[in-house]
Subunit: 307 residues, 2 copies
């Protein structure tokens, strides 16, 4: 029986100012997924973790993505998935995107790599739709392409991989629940033109900072005048965390995706460790449970580790 | 008597999606300015062109910029300027910026280059204030730095020069008047978040296109969903011009600054010439007088040609 094992990474969507358009992949944590090719139209999901996610294909992120892909496959085939998720659902670092992206990359490998990365992103967004009701690609794109990605347009889909320098990422996940749909609902639909100008100036600065490998410019551009002021109210100790991390030497950072995880970028590993300590001490002081990850930007995206 | 001659180029602010933050310098037209150092606190302006601009320093763009600079100079000095403007005031290709930027670069040269480019931009914005009432730097920055510039922040001023590939620019100036203040007043102060997201996705795409020297990406990103739909109503035949230029092979383009000039970018000289013909035929058909320039992006900015 044809089989493949893939690792599918966590991702940080938005990257502070780039709401809905920028994202980056992390080297840890990542989900493991073993997939076997079946000779009939069926999707079987075996969860080997503690999250009790649904196994009916229509209610499952794997299923949503694979059913979209199978519409474009003429042969009589199906997939069995053994899933070991390490990325906690609801953490804000692309747990559902890792499932959807991992499934389509694994399936594409078993089918002889017939689809392009852009097509895989399209399929995987149907998995996101199962999880959150919307077909957004801002976690899917970096998860599949690796590195830092820009989604210039959703329709037609236009994904642009950016150059970037080595970056350390410290992510703290407070053990509270923030639903993506709630985090979206509290945003204002109308904004001031002058605030939007400030935002796209920083988006342009951040993209230029990545491309020029200019750490200082990356840091100066990690400013969000529109989304963070609203969403940060849902995250305990957000302002304290941010202040302590900047003082510890972080380039900058903010809410990962729609939260509740908070991420910080650093140039050096030693700084990223100091940032980790700073984050820990804030949450220990205010008594919030948390998980923490100290990692780097992952340039590869979903990868086949065994086939 | 110490003397210097500078050429100060026309500029295109905004570059379609980058409202208030992006700009580029042109190789033509450019203003010529001869400046002499005086040994008393005085600004003398001699206009050698047909535009009858005011010569009282407080009412003149040169004066506004130079008075701001002179506050930072302790010595008993002044400047005499012979100005030959080739960039028509009100054309939308940075006529006042060319005056202000040319004056401060020339004066800095006469004073032994004691100020940084960033300081010169600051001084020159006081010239813009005389012309339009606001201290914007989106024409000044490319005029002084040359090439393509991003203003990430106005306060503190943060100007970032971008890499860019060779580009041909065709500019048509219909002989109508659009006041910068009117062009600004018709803009909506409130916009939809979803439109702002589309805009910053394109700003990020355009910046990436310049940095990667990716002509196709530059073309795809030259989309403005916020400003152009409103301001283009002030420009006769705007939609026809744009359609004809795209059919002639232009990468894209739009309103230069607040208009009325319209510019188009092309990869090849032959395309830029076809674009020129397309522009001409639209305005000849609808009977609008115009001037036209076929030029390239100027990487040098204001330059000293004789000292």
């Amino acid at each position: 029986m044809k089989q493949v094992t893939v690792l599918s990474p966590a991702t940080v969507a938005n990257i502070v100012c780039g709401f809905d358009v920028l994202g980056l992949a992390l080297n840890a944590p990542s989900d493991k997924l073993v997939m076997r090719l079946l000779d009939k139209r069926e999707i079987r999901i075996i969860n080997k973790d503690r999250f009790n996610l649904p196994t009916e294909p229509e209610k499952n992120v794997f299923g949503g993505a694979l059913l979209a892909m199978m519409k474009e496959v003429k042969e009589e085939i199906g997939f069995e998935i053994e899933s070991t998720k390490m990325i906690m659902p609801g953490s804000g670092i692309g747990s559902s995107a890792a499932s959807a992206a991992g499934a389509v990359v694994a399936a594409n490998h078993l089918l002889g790599n017939r689809f392009t990365n852009q097509e895989l992103v399209q399929f995987a967004t149907y998995g996101e739709q199962v999880a959150s009701g919307s077909r957004h690609a801002d976690n899917i794109a970096p998860c599949i392409y690796g590195g830092v990605t820009l989604i210039r347009s959703n329709d037609p889909l236009d994904i642009i991989p950016l150059n970037f320098p080595p970056l350390y990422v410290t992510v703290i996940h407070p053990q509270i629940e923030v639903k993506t749909s709630d985090a979206r609902q509290i945003l204002k639909k109308q904004i001031l033109l002058k605030d939007a100008i400030t935002q796209w100036a920083n988006v342009a600065g951040l993209v230029t900072g990545f491309m020029k490998e200019d750490y200082n410019l990356i840091g100066r551009s990690l400013v969000d005048v529109l989304i963070e002021p609203v969403r940060s109210m849902l995250i305990p100790g957000f302002n304290e965390i941010k202040k302590a991390c900047k003082e510890a030497g972080a380039l900058g950072g903010g809410i990962s995706g729609s939260g509740p995880s908070v991420f910080m970028l650093s140039k050096e590993e030693a700084t990223a460790k100091a940032v980790e300590l700073a984050m820990r001490s804030v949450y220990e002081k205010i008594g919030v449970d948390f998980h923490i990850h100290l990692t780097t930007v992952n340039p590869r995206g979903v990868e086949v580790v065994n086939s």
